[in-house]
């Protein structure tokens, strides 16, 4: 049963991401990205990371993907084009990413990873994650919140400048 669910989530992750890379319609690519993010959230849950799975759904699907779809909708007029490079560039990209894929797969299969006990029992992670974020990782946590604030203000500033420049 677990095997079946695992395979379903893997297919849910892999197949739409091919569509993201190859689709000639950018709206289709954006909605396939939605399915990919759901698949990855499922894989997180299968890995015992319940909190990360929920955060993936809330932030990636509820935040980032909505922003991307807004961006797609606001920058299209008339025909919806994906705008890919011409054939030589495409072959170059395909060869380069195939080489990287081969190297990564070789490393993933051949390396002897220091495995732990994989039948470790799964416990809810949110309380322990909160302890870590406000304990050992307090400084990175505050830096990340500062980064989010700066990104927010910076994004507003960039857009406002361009709107004022139009007047």
């Amino acid at each position: 049963m677990k095997q079946v669910i695992f395979s379903v989530f893997i297919l849910m992750t892999i197949i739409p991401s091919f569509w993201v890379a190859l689709s000639s319609n950018i709206v289709h690519a954006a909605f396939s990205l939605l399915v990919t993010f759901f698949g990855i959230a499922g894989l997180y849950v299968l890995l015992g990371a319940d909190f990360i799975g929920v955060v993936q759904v809330i932030i990636y699907i509820g935040g980032i993907l909505v922003l991307i779809i807004f961006g797609v909708m606001m920058t299209q007029r008339g025909r919806v084009l994906a705008l890919s490079v011409q054939l030589p560039g495409k072959i170059f990209g395909a060869v380069l990413s195939a080489v990287i894929l081969a190297a990564l797969c070789f490393a993933a299969v051949k390396t002897l990873w220091p495995l732990g006990s994989s039948d470790r029992e799964l416990v809810p992670t949110s309380a322990a994650l909160g302890d870590l974020l406000l304990g050992k990782y307090l400084i990175p946590f505050e830096a990340a919140s500062l980064l989010l604030l700066v990104a927010l203000v910076g994004a507003l500033l960039i857009v406002r400048k361009s709107v004022e420049g139009e007047k």
């Binding site: 095997q3 395979s7 992750t13 892999i14 991401s17 993201v20 890379a21 690519a29 954006a30 990205l33 990919t36 894989l43 997180y44 299968l46 990371a49 909190f51 990360i52 955060v55 993936q56 932030i59 990636y60 935040g63 980032i64 922003l67 991307i68 920058t75 994906a82 705008l83 890919s84 490079v85 560039g89 990209g93 395909a94 380069l96 195939a98 990287i100 894929l101 990564l104 797969c105 993933a108 299969v109 495995l115 732990g116 470790r120 992670t125 994650l129 870590l132 974020l133 990782y137 990175p140 980064l147 989010l148 700066v150 990104a151 927010l152 994004a155 960039i158 857009v159 361009s162 709107v163």
Partner: protein
């Protein structure tokens, strides 16, 4: 596929390479952003897979990997906000999001 570390690593390598391919071949600025999101997701999946299967003697607390994934997600949110602001600003100026047209980024 068996439920092992290697299959998670293979899935995330494939996601990573599809993201790289998307970044390299799209000329649509938002399409490039989607490729970057695929790459970041592959990295996060790797972190969580190692936090599940890795040895607890080497990593200390097995939840360390999940904390890194949280930071990756936060940084992805910041990155996509700024990138979309830049794309919309360029669009209002040049009326296109084709990155081949962005040769001259000066005022």
């Amino acid at each position: 596929m068996p439920y092992t570390l290697t299959s998670f690593l293979l899935v995330s390598s494939l996601l990573f390479c599809l993201g790289i391919f998307t970044v390299l071949t799209r000329r649509n600025a938002i399409g490039i952003l989607m490729g970057i999101e695929l790459v970041l997701n592959a990295a996060g999946l790797n972190f969580v897979a190692f936090s599940r299967f890795g040895s607890e003697f080497q990593s200390g607390n097995p939840l360390n990997g999940q904390v890194f994934t949280l930071f990756v997600i936060a940084i992805a949110a910041a990155e996509v906000a700024v990138a979309l602001a830049i794309v919309l600003s360029l669009y209002s100026r040049l009326k296109t999001i084709d990155v081949a047209e962005f040769k001259d980024l000066q005022r």
